[in-house]
Amino acid sequence: MQDNKLDVKVSIVGDTTGIIHISGELSVFVPDFDLFYREVAAYIRMGLIQFVIDLNGVSYIDSSGIGLIIKLSTNAMRNQTKICLICEQPQVRRALTIANIDRIVHFVSGISEGMEFYRAAETAPTRP
């Protein structure tokens, strides 16, 4: 932990998709973490399922931050989808890999690829 700051910007697309840009430290020791956690819970209650989360501005993530990702992933899984993560930051990516998070999320290179992932899922033929 270095800066002890967390900055979050959220935009909602349609009824079910949220785009979240996170920068700073995704850690329980950051004062705004608890607020963000409750905000995420509210988005889930609102019915948002699909999330494209940009972690490129995140310099540090701990198990609480990973727990937040799992919470969103669990919600997505219940609705037969995955959340999309953008994460080029090597230390953060490594932490997600060690935590086995890479198995339950879909990594994308940018917001547009994440949105394309959900569009493709919507248009994919369903099995009878």
């Binding site: 004062p31 198990s63 992933s73 935590a99 339950i104």
Partner: protein, 148 residues
């Protein structure tokens, strides 16, 4: 080399300590920067565990943290980290899970520490407190670092 710190669980003290810790670890690991970040992560998680489960978020209690760096055969080094808390002793051994379920929240931090570190244990000390012990073998040649 030995580095000793005493901090409380207050955010500002944890943040200040972790900055200093990362600085030490980066100098210890030289060009293996990722190892420094991984060990830093483990210390953070160990402190978080103590604050959550032992101190129950009472942030005034102290934590004594000691880093020992010893050389093995001239190229490798052994980094040992001991975190002493003064809370109620743990009732039984804490064993990190060998694997975690995909969506499991609990014990993921313990699981991650056990994957990163070469050794990890928590033991009670007499009637008052516990010691969290972690060991990491730092392979290859690293930069020298002086105790602060």
């Amino acid at each position: 080399m030995i580095f000793k710190f005493t901090i409380s669980g207050k955010e500002e003290q944890v943040v200040e300590f972790e900055k200093e810790l990362l600085d030490i670890l980066l100098r210890l690991t030289g060009d293996q920067e990722m190892i420094a970040h991984e060990v830093h992560f483990c210390v953070h998680e160990a402190i978080l565990n103590i604050i959550q489960h032992t101190y129950k978020w009472d942030l005034d209690h102290p934590l004594d943290i000691r880093l020992d760096v010893t050389e093995t055969d001239g190229t490798d080094r052994v980094l040992e980290i001991a975190i002493r808390d003064y809370g109620p002793p743990i009732e039984g051994p804490i064993i990190p899970p060998k694997r975690v379920d995909k969506f499991q929240l609990r014990k993921r931090g313990l699981y991650m520490i056990s994957k990163i570190m070469d050794s990890y244990s928590i033991e009670s000390v007499a009637k008052n407190g516990n010691v969290t012990y972690m060991k990491k073998i730092l392979k290859g040649k690293q930069e020298t670092v002086s105790p602060i």
